[in-house]
């Protein structure tokens, strides 16, 4: 019997066939069901390959992967503290560079990669990240953004969406949840003049892995911002992890794009008529309290942000 595959399914088969069969983060880790973050890491590591060293600050991925005496990592991996993925990564890169130049380790390129959560990136690790990017280390910094301090109980971060309910920004009768708009990290990283900046989501594995491969090729710093659906913190059902990531893109709330030497490009088609934000907000418990008027405010702001991005997509020119 032959099974007829849709184009989407054929694409997935193609990706799976070309994938590195090695598992760099193994099964048995302690992530929640339906965790978008660990799924992203697994696929990203396959795109990175063996010659990788990981700097991982405190956060979900550290806690679920390396509880002594066990480890899920088949790559060299270091965790030091919460605010210093960027600076520890800087040192790793500098150490490898010096030792390679002096002939003390094998003469081949090993890429330094930071995997940090949104708290470790947009809040407490922001300065270390900025310094690392400014210094131009040969390093990929990946922010796995699940939009709050999920590891410690869903406290808000600078990446928490506007009016989402978090445990330190709860939806109360006077204040409807988080009072700030999500910090635009990708744009801040473009402001650091990085040769490559991209957003991604494990709901689009091929796009995500291609971006990681591209970033790996860059000799110098690059930044990837990955939306990682968190059923635990978003109060969504675990089987909707992939679907939610897709809706985030299709609404234009978290559009998938890349900025290569200053040129902006949308990498996954967005429908002409974008999906209304209601479809994204209504299926997540953290937005359950919102009134139609409040949802309209969010919709308006998403439209503004999306138009700002599209202006850059339509008008940016290469630096060189």
């Amino acid at each position: 019997m032959t099974v007829k595959l849709s184009k989407n399914q054929k694409d997935i088969v193609k990706i799976v066939k070309g994938m590195d069969k090695a598992e760099y983060i193994s099964a048995g880790h302690r992530a929640c069901q339906g965790c978008g973050e660990v799924l992203a890491i697994r696929l990203m590591c396959k795109a990175l390959g063996k010659d990788t060293v990981i700097s991982n600050p405190t956060g979900c991925m550290e806690v679920i992967s390396a509880i002594y005496p066990t480890t899920a990592w088949n790559l060299p991996w270091i965790h030091v503290g919460f605010p210093n993925a960027g600076s520890v990564g800087s040192g790793v890169e500098a150490g490898l560079k010096a030792l390679r130049r002096k002939g003390k380790i094998a003469d081949r390129r090993v890429k330094t990669v930071c995997f940090a959560g949104d708290g470790g990136t947009v809040d407490i690790g922001f300065q270390a990240l900025s310094g690392a990017m400014e210094r131009g280390h040969d390093m990929i910094y990946v922010c796995l953004d699940n939009e709050a301090y999920m590891n410690t109980g869903i406290q808000r971060s600078g990446a928490t969406p506007f009016m989402a309910s978090a445990t330190t920004a709860p939806a109360g009768s006077a204040i409807p949840g988080n009072r700030t708009w999500k910090k635009n990290m990708a744009e801040i990283m473009v402001g650091h003049n990085l040769p490559y900046v991209a957003t991604c989501c494990p709901s689009y594995p091929e796009d995500m892995m291609n971006k990681i491969r591209k970033a790996r090729e860059v000799v110098g710093p690059s930044y990837i911002h990955c939306l990682a659906v968190c059923p635990t913190g978003w109060r969504s059902t675990s089987e909707t992890c992939i679907e939610l990531g897709r809706v985030a893109h299709e609404t234009g709330f978290f559009p998938l794009y890349e900025v290569e030497n200053g040129v902006y490009r949308i990498t996954v088609d967005i429908p002409e008529k974008r999906t209304p934000m209601d479809e994204y907000l209504k299926v997540q418990g953290r937005f359950r309290h919102l009134t139609p008027e409040q949802r309209a405010i969010i919709q308006n702001r998403v439209d503004v942000e999306f138009n700002k991005l599209m202006n850059k997509v339509n008008h940016s020119v290469p630096w060189v």
Binding site: Y68, T70, S90
Partner: protein, 392 residues
């Protein structure tokens, strides 16, 4: 052949680190350490050593990056002072837990509130229990020697711990002093290439910095404590070897004119040399006063202390930091507690001096010595005293 040169002590410290063929320096400038950061960067800029110099954006990142580099197997150096050290403190216990032999020079400076850039020991005392080996220098020569020795001690397989070398800010760091600077060949003979135990490299992937649950955390602390306690043997061996090669002797506690002394002044850091002059003057007048200079602060030399105080009836311990609301200065508390079980324990009095760069003169030490003599028959009411502080 060593060469006798006149040089600012910070410059000498940077030169010593360069002689150790460091692979990575990760330094954020702060007064009074800045000349170390500056001079080291010029050594790298002139291509005199093959090293990566990281212009980090904070002390937190300076030590974090130093740890990342050390984890790859690179010989790594950093330096700081005061607020910078306290900013690093979040990562300092992790450096020792990950057993990374980072060497750090600290140009000791007061801790802010009110802000003050001058010397005392409140910075290092804040970070006392981070599991670092901690050594105090009293002059430029000791800074050079101890910086080179530090790599050999830290990188020893039985140690693998970070070390800080303390040099008093300004009062030592900014002095131009004559130092015997060893040459490259001598240092190479003393300090071989670093052979790390475990490194971050894909050829042998390892996990560094895993989470410790309650069922093993205490064991990890015990392992770290054993490591630092046992490091004393290596420190003594390295100092013995140094004496053989360079002729300069180092001891955990240096005794000066202690024979027949009733009172022993106790100092740590550069004030030891001022105290020496005071002891000379008092001895000339027949006042039975001697001096102990503590070089090794962590691991604390308990046995050496018990031996060094034999025969004395009063210890006048000087501290350059306040333990607010505590039992007295940190060095005093340590010494008094170390001697509690000694049946022949002397009286221990505590003078807290030289805070935030306040000058301490020979006369001050003579006064302290005389007052301590009186404590032989009549103990002071208060355990400690902020010496020479205006009452209002």
């Amino acid at each position: 052949m060593s060469k006798r040169v006149g040089m600012e002590v910070t410059t000498a410290c940077a030169e010593a680190a360069a002689l150790c063929r460091i692979d990575v320096a990760s330094v954020y400038p702060i007064t009074p350490q800045s000349h170390i950061a500056e001079h080291l960067s010029s050594i790298v800029a002139d291509g005199r050593i093959d090293a990566e110099y990281l212009t980090v954006e904070s002390e937190h990142s300076a030590l974090s990056a130093a740890m990342g580099a050390s984890a790859t197997g690179a010989r790594t150096f950093t330096a700081t002072a005061s607020q910078g050290l306290i900013f690093m403190q979040e990562v300092m216990p992790i450096t020792s837990s990950l057993r990374l032999p980072v060497v750090m020079a600290i140009a000791n400076r007061a801790v802010s509130g009110p802000i003050n850039i001058w010397n005392d020991h409140s910075d290092i005392m804040h970070t006392r229990d981070c599991g670092w080996i901690s050594i105090f220098a009293q002059n430029g020569q000791e800074v050079v020697d101890m910086t080179i020795q530090a790599f050999k001690i830290a990188e020893h397989r039985d140690v693998l711990l970070p070390i800080n070398i303390n040099l008093d800010g300004f009062q030592l760091s900014h002095m131009v002093e004559p130092v015997e600077m060893p040459d490259q060949e001598e240092v190479d003979r003393f300090l071989p290439e670093y052979k790390p135990y475990a490194t971050l490299h894909p050829d042998r992937p390892i996990t560094m910095g895993a989470l410790g649950m309650p069922d093993m955390f205490a064991e990890a602390m015990m392992a770290k404590n054993s490591a630092i306690v046992n490091s004393k043997k290596v420190i003594l061996d390295v100092w013995k070897e140094w004496k053989k090669l360079f002729g300069r002797k180092y001891e955990p506690i240096e005794s000066y004119k202690t024979e027949g002394a009733k009172v022993l002044l106790v100092t740590m850091g550069s004030m030891g040399e001022t105290a020496e002059i005071a002891v000379d003057e008092m001895r000339e007048k027949g006042v039975p006063v001697g001096l102990l200079k503590i070089k090794l602060w962590r691991p604390f030399p308990f046995d050496e202390l018990k031996k060094a105080i034999k025969g004395a009836s009063v210890l006048a311990v000087t501290d350059r930091a306040v333990s607010f609301g505590g039992p007295g200065g940190p060095l005093f508390s340590e010494i008094r507690s170390a001697l509690y079980d000694d049946p022949a324990r002397p009286a221990v009095v505590n003078y807290i001096i030289g805070l935030g760069g306040r000058d301490v003169s020979v006369k001050d030490f003579i006064d302290m010595g005389k007052r301590a003599l009186k404590a032989e028959s009549k103990r002071p009411k208060e355990a400690y005293e902020l010496f020479g502080v205006r009452a209002s």
